[in-house]
Subunit: 485 residues, 4 copies
Amino acid sequence: MPPAHPFDDDKLHEECGVFGVIGVTDAANFVALGLHALQHRGQEAGGIVSHDPESGFNSARRFGYVRDNFTKQSLMETLPGSLAIGHVRYSTAGSKGATQIRDVQPFFGEFSMGGAAIAHNGNITNADALRRELIERGSIFQSSSDSECIIHLMARSLQRKVPERMMDALRRVEGAFSIVAMTRTKLIGVRDPLGVRPLVIGRLGEDGWILSSETCALDIIGAEYIREVEPGEMVVIEHGKLNSMRPFVPQQSRFCIFEHVYFSRPDSILGGRSVYETRRQIGVELAREAPVDADLVCPVPDSGTPAAIGYAHESGIPYGMGIIRNQYMGRTFIEPTEQIRNMGVRLKLNVNRALIRGKRVILVDDSVVRGTTSRKIKEMILDAGAAEVHFRIASPPTAWPCFYGVDTPQRDKLLAATMSEDEMRDYLQVDSLRFISLDGLYRAVGEAEGRNPKCPQYCDACFSGEYPIEPADMIEKGFEMKAAE
Amino acid sequence: MPPAHPFDDDKLHEECGVFGVIGVTDAANFVALGLHALQHRGQEAGGIVSHDPESGFNSARRFGYVRDNFTKQSLMETLPGSLAIGHVRYSTAGSKGATQIRDVQPFFGEFSMGGAAIAHNGNITNADALRRELIERGSIFQSSSDSECIIHLMARSLQRKVPERMMDALRRVEGAFSIVAMTRTKLIGVRDPLGVRPLVIGRLGEDGWILSSETCALDIIGAEYIREVEPGEMVVIEHGKLNSMRPFVPQQSRFCIFEHVYFSRPDSILGGRSVYETRRQIGVELAREAPVDADLVCPVPDSGTPAAIGYAHESGIPYGMGIIRNQYMGRTFIEPTEQIRNMGVRLKLNVNRALIRGKRVILVDDSVVRGTTSRKIKEMILDAGAAEVHFRIASPPTAWPCFYGVDTPQRDKLLAATMSEDEMRDYLQVDSLRFISLDGLYRAVGEAEGRNPKCPQYCDACFSGEYPIEPADMIEKGFEMKAAE
Amino acid sequence: MPPAHPFDDDKLHEECGVFGVIGVTDAANFVALGLHALQHRGQEAGGIVSHDPESGFNSARRFGYVRDNFTKQSLMETLPGSLAIGHVRYSTAGSKGATQIRDVQPFFGEFSMGGAAIAHNGNITNADALRRELIERGSIFQSSSDSECIIHLMARSLQRKVPERMMDALRRVEGAFSIVAMTRTKLIGVRDPLGVRPLVIGRLGEDGWILSSETCALDIIGAEYIREVEPGEMVVIEHGKLNSMRPFVPQQSRFCIFEHVYFSRPDSILGGRSVYETRRQIGVELAREAPVDADLVCPVPDSGTPAAIGYAHESGIPYGMGIIRNQYMGRTFIEPTEQIRNMGVRLKLNVNRALIRGKRVILVDDSVVRGTTSRKIKEMILDAGAAEVHFRIASPPTAWPCFYGVDTPQRDKLLAATMSEDEMRDYLQVDSLRFISLDGLYRAVGEAEGRNPKCPQYCDACFSGEYPIEPADMIEKGFEMKAAE
Amino acid sequence: MPPAHPFDDDKLHEECGVFGVIGVTDAANFVALGLHALQHRGQEAGGIVSHDPESGFNSARRFGYVRDNFTKQSLMETLPGSLAIGHVRYSTAGSKGATQIRDVQPFFGEFSMGGAAIAHNGNITNADALRRELIERGSIFQSSSDSECIIHLMARSLQRKVPERMMDALRRVEGAFSIVAMTRTKLIGVRDPLGVRPLVIGRLGEDGWILSSETCALDIIGAEYIREVEPGEMVVIEHGKLNSMRPFVPQQSRFCIFEHVYFSRPDSILGGRSVYETRRQIGVELAREAPVDADLVCPVPDSGTPAAIGYAHESGIPYGMGIIRNQYMGRTFIEPTEQIRNMGVRLKLNVNRALIRGKRVILVDDSVVRGTTSRKIKEMILDAGAAEVHFRIASPPTAWPCFYGVDTPQRDKLLAATMSEDEMRDYLQVDSLRFISLDGLYRAVGEAEGRNPKCPQYCDACFSGEYPIEPADMIEKGFEMKAAE
């Protein structure tokens, strides 16, 4: 699939969002609403599995937005029951070519003592090796998704009950993953031992429990936020009760710091902190670390907005909407004309020429990946008559690919992998370019002392090259880790 | 068609946007881009007519977004030629029930000396009477659109040439209309004598000329903004030359002031003024007229944003994103489940709870129509723990329907038609509610002295009830004008 | 549109079928059934207009089979009322290129005293001239269909009532046409003065009246066949009563003899005669005129079957299914692969090799147009091991195009226009080839004395070149009539 | 899925057709053509898998006709390679509810030494037990199809090569099945030990080999018929060579006699006999066994036609088309109106009233299943004025369900399960009703001595209740076999 819009080839992409509900009437409707609120985590496709004592497991998987598929009466009626899980996906991991509908999660497997459906956000770093082993033993794979490895491991487990089967399976699995799964009567949530990817618990009414990638999806259904599933924890919810288990050896957590920078919605709460407030605070730190004399602080919409508000507030320079986003840019174009293809960023953004003309403009963006979009935006701003263009980036230089469920370009496509900050400034031909420091970012997320280099509080591999989980499949494919210093 | 999203039944709607190009290769591609930039003026359907010496007139009309239809190679190849016009429409005027594809503009008619296609933005206030008369004489109507009246009048004109036929036709027509039309060789633009609806002229390269509802659509194709078509002017562009004609008796202009408030995109230029700057200035005026002690100025996204920035700047109260908009709310739901239908505004907006909690919040919105959305937003803000809620509205109370091409509810559905400002505050159950004054609005659009009550500089009938053009058809249907004071 | 199946470029095509009902509940449902029974008269598209006092005129037009469109509850509910007319069309007459949905009948026009919908089967031979004249006067055409001329003539009539307007219009119209039309309260049927195309009257229950192209469509709804609309007659049915009018100067009738040969369904009754029996009798006549010593009489399915049965019976040679038709060949292929395109006739037919091998085979076909299919069938039969192949054709050589509503190739594409019977036999490389004589055909349709050359009882222009109605538009376009002898 | 047309609930249905090709360019195109020729064996859905060294295995599965899906250039381009297999299916065996696209064959599985795709025609009578056992061992099923059992058995085989794995799997499988399978380099065909279902071998050009359910699909691609795959034989074709293996214990064959009566196309060759000739001969036998004085022999189209021709020829009573079939009745109606639903058989058939009136009519049909259609046809014939109606049925009474890949109603729905021939005659209210005797049928298929009761030459379980393979799954579900006599 081509990128969803002109920016998309110049952003990192969260692969997935997961959501599960138990103990409510028409659970699938709640899952649909939750997935709609998590749509920013994956726009390519979505799926829901529900269970109802009468009709058993039912599932629907569709390409496209949740709102275009999982709102229709006729479809939702095929997903009855008080227990359901769902998934939205971005395209990456999986087969070489186009995603097939069979690759869309959740996956379902029937076992000798019942069945289970499973969906995950993240990446299993030894999935290739596991798959080879399972095929050797006679398992038949129907998809290219990592989730299917877990289902096959569960099917072959010698345990009888599904939670025990899952623990068996998880002990073979390496990587970063937040799992939502279900049996006929249980809703199950798991986070990997480092807790790289998010997963939260909510409650609705007397008996309803929710698992969700982010808190914003609790808000949409009016659920109460209880707590996060802890790193390495497995929760099993049944008959209105939650049981907590610990299938893994305990480790210090390493939550993905990029969730704070870009992936999560600003109205979500991560680790007890408002994402919006963290981003605003990044802007404040940036204004302190990298001040510049200018007339206007202008966000690159929409992800740069909170940091721009923080930067403007701290610097005292007026905040203004110098770039206007077209509200009607949605999904991919199908077979567009050459001319449309060439319009690129103009289809999505327009410069507010009257505001920009003659001004020294500070553009605040969340990150620089390939740098292609930054160049185009800079050109649009200068064409509109800006006197100066200063880029301020709300994350450190992205110099390493992520192997934990985020779609990143190969290392040689990352601008920061081959250029210093000054070289990037020259490449982008802007008057100045500054990234927030890694310590500044850690301060903005609440670590007053900054990053602990001995034992970093977060996973920041995309900035530092320090991978907390060995990317086994990728190393086998030839990826070279950063040399130990 | 049901409203496009939860807000849509509580906004005024511009019916249409028009765009035309002459003198460029593959003109229809430019029209598609222009219409994409004008999509905010009408999301229901769009159409393009092009002319090519070899294949003659070709047309395509589609329901849905421009980007979903008029980007496909296969469709655009059917619209060859260096001359094309297009239209996007919102649903209103026309037949009682659902819009049929035959109601989608542009309309085409073949005359004895050639043919013409025509699209308009606005409303012909004597269309019903004209239609009756034409049918009596033997014309056969295929649509319920006003544009078809003009085509039939042109077909019956005793003049031979199309521009003369059009002038003949226009002399029979009353109302507010900006027309873009084309013959085999000419691009024609017309604004009604009062110039109620916008229409601008642009140039592209040596020979290319553009007509567009707004300047933002010139930007997307890289065209240069030349000037507005003047009220009562008819421009005929052929062989790279523009001729200006004056078919109407001259009158003082009365441009629609609501274009400044809401309809136009903030990056457009209206009457030489930046729409963004005007809206920011409305916020400044509001802060002066209606100050209040509070902790946070928060826009109702996205239309309230510029005024909120102005209000925050003038008042010194911090600006923050207290309400987060879901980027993936697009078009109408098709047959949604009951539960989805009931979610209403939550599907589109979520409160940034961490930011709002405990704060005294000033909510800046562009207008209040029925008041239904305002109530829901107030409830969301209070549920999230706001200490106080103060509404500041960037337009005066909307108390009268528009008959000039804007879709407004019947008068008794307008909150301001039956309530005073205090009654509205009590109805909405907010701590305070203030609208900008009519004079304040006029100041914000650049009339330092405010509104000239003897001879208002703008059409403000929706606020004042003073209709500059008699709505003949509506009066026949029983509408009662405001009594002269 | 490419041909619907391999044979289609080698047959004459009836353009249309018409059907109308008044005085029954849910009339549109009956029209749908009737059109399904008339589908052989036109497979490209169909349309239905109904009238209901509450919702007025409603219409639906669709490409494709009646059964795929006009059976759906959701569509049929939009066509309420006790009065409806419908139409199925084949593609020909009309615009150069692809048919547009706006070209699909029935057409509807609103007049000053009401409205009318109209559908016709046939061709208006002065349509081009009428259209030019109407455009000159200011009428705007929306389609390329002949029916629209009649509607515009009616709209301009000085008469007040629809039947009188229609008589006014018909007096300007030349050609071969069977019309079914409706007002809000009347069902109207008309046949041209020569009665070239068929139209019959049926009754259903107490108050129901039906007009239909063929009697087979009366059977499907259980209606009783009453009589034919007579040549030059106009019937107006209202309040359960039928009124007969005579708008034209009386002439001797000239019914299309090809309806007996091929167009009509074998289970229909034409002019009081069973079509099946006529075709069987053609086979009997052929066996008498052109006997041959052989082992097997084999129809080219399905149109040659009745004549083959007659031939076998008369000759005493066994009848057998030597060619098997694939039941699943339906409509056109959309963008087929090269390989599929090249398969041609094999996709539709297969030879029953075990039956054919070593036999002297008489193949009975209904007609030879271009001869392309006959060649392919002959090859298939020989490949399967037939000892001899003898063609017997149930119509005389088709040497002239039809201008009365039948789609025929240009004259130079007709095999019989340039070759004698012997030359055709050599061209087809068969052991013998014989067509029934024109007199034999007249005998088979019941004219014991054969054709009356002074005043032929039927229109047989496609065989004789004697056109009973001057094809004015075609002559203007350069068609040369046969020189008078 | 509702029945495809009014008759369909009153016929037995062959579930499937299979077709495979190796050694030709663009093999999938040939498979598409072959499946088109086999469409009568299954209309619900079709699938093709191809293999190409570069892109590996590719597959496409679609609901609907082959001709509507597998003719498009765009789809066929996704199926490259010189080796491909395909399948058409009717709906039966499988999950309780609607067929899902994942249930559509061929199935594909990846093994440790490669992969294989498989499609079958028939039924595995111990599939339920096998499935339970495989799930117990950890296999995960993705479909409800029997073919998937074979793939899982193959995946778990300890053999390394695919043919050996398949032999391993087949030894666990009971039932009636003709299999077409492929690896990356081999085309494989298998028939069960009794050879209940057909499978033939063909050649095309130098290197091309074909496997097909029937010979008619060889004809369409111009391939030469070589021989049948023998009962219990497994053929493996690679590098232009065919190897024959015998994985099963040899048994006397029991080919399905109903293939001769109804399932196969009349232009196919079964066991060296022309199906058409066999059916004609059944008519001859019927005329001898059950003569009656009458005026007309009339087939129930289309399946009764060859037997009617035979009956007419033997009896000397004229043959005629008393019932005309609508050519445009295709697939299922989607949500039809009540009125359409009630039309039933009239949508498909019409009586040729002029031919039938006053006649004593012999109706020849292929079989009587529930008897519902026979009643309707009898009524139509009498309504049309027939003097007498005599049914002659070209098969013995169908009194037992088939469990070998044919969709039959439950036993209590079979008219012959509860009524004698005389009772059926009274139930149908016809003047006479006679079925061919079982011995007569055996004579018609070439067994001059009739049926050998000790060791029947064919599977005739649907007539005799003698099941040559124990229907294990069905017995477990409660089916009661006929008591041994």
